[in-house]
């Protein structure tokens, strides 16, 4: 198993009730599988359109997750 850090921001942090959590995934897990598991753990997240990042880069879902990676789940950005 690999340990990754999962980050939440703004609305997703409010829904998850935390800004950061560590999660374990099997080796060679794809990003979309990992994100599905995260949403499963915090089901209210799925009420929003979500964006995902792996290591500070927008994820397309195909990425293979590695030990120590930083994943993030958030809603559409609204800076400016």
């Amino acid at each position: 198993m690999m340990k990754v850090t999962v980050l939440f921001f703004g609305q997703t942090a409010e829904i998850a009730g935390k800004r950061e959590v560590e999660m374990l995934f099997a080796e060679s897990t794809a990003a979309n599988v990992a994100f599905a598991k995260i949403v499963e753990q915090y089901p209210k997240l799925s009420e929003n359109k979500l964006l995902f990042a792996v290591n500070q880069t927008y994820a397309n879902g195909d990425e293979i997750i590695n030990h120590g990676d930083e994943l993030a789940v958030f809603t559409a950005v609204s800076g400016g």
Partner: protein, 148 residues
């Protein structure tokens, strides 16, 4: 020359009040004659509803990465000399600046175009979120979806 110019670019996040003039003047270079600056700030009235204040938060490491990508891609497309982007985080009162984007160039037209594109793309791609506090409530402002 391209290298010299690039050293002038900056992308920053801060919780301190922004000084729009100071940011705009930091990118003045000898080959430039014009700087176009967008000063984005907290609007009090939106369609008859009163905003009290805003709170901004960011995924800071990714926001800086996305801002730098944005700067690199806009640089490629326009005859401009330097770009400065500073976004403030935390609580901001009415009229307080949340973002400043400045673009300097030998001639003004590409500076206008680049500055407008930068703010449009920043709002679409840089992971920053704002929560609006109004009389009787608060809401996370819904942004646009980035197309990847």
């Amino acid at each position: 020359m391209k290298e010299t110019e690039k050293r002038q670019d900056f992308c920053e996040l801060t919780t301190k009040p922004l000084n729009v003039g100071e940011i705009a003047r930091r990118i003045v270079l000898p080959e430039c004659g014009a700087t176009v600056t967008l000063d984005g700030y907290v609007r009090q009235w939106t369609k008859g509803r009163e905003t009290l204040y805003l709170e901004y938060e960011a995924y800071e490491s990714m926001a800086l990465k996305e801002m730098k990508k944005l700067v690199a891609s806009v640089r490629e497309r326009f005859e401009i000399s330097a770009i400065g982007i500073v976004h403030r985080l935390g609580r901001m009162e009415i009229g307080e600046t949340s973002v400043v984007i400045s673009v300097s160039a030998p001639h003004r037209k590409p500076a206008f175009e680049a500055c407008e594109l930068l703010i449009t793309e920043l709002k679409r791609t840089v992971p920053i979120w704002k929560k609006e506090f109004y009389v009787g409530g608060e809401v996370w402002v819904q942004g646009e979806q980035p197309q990847s």
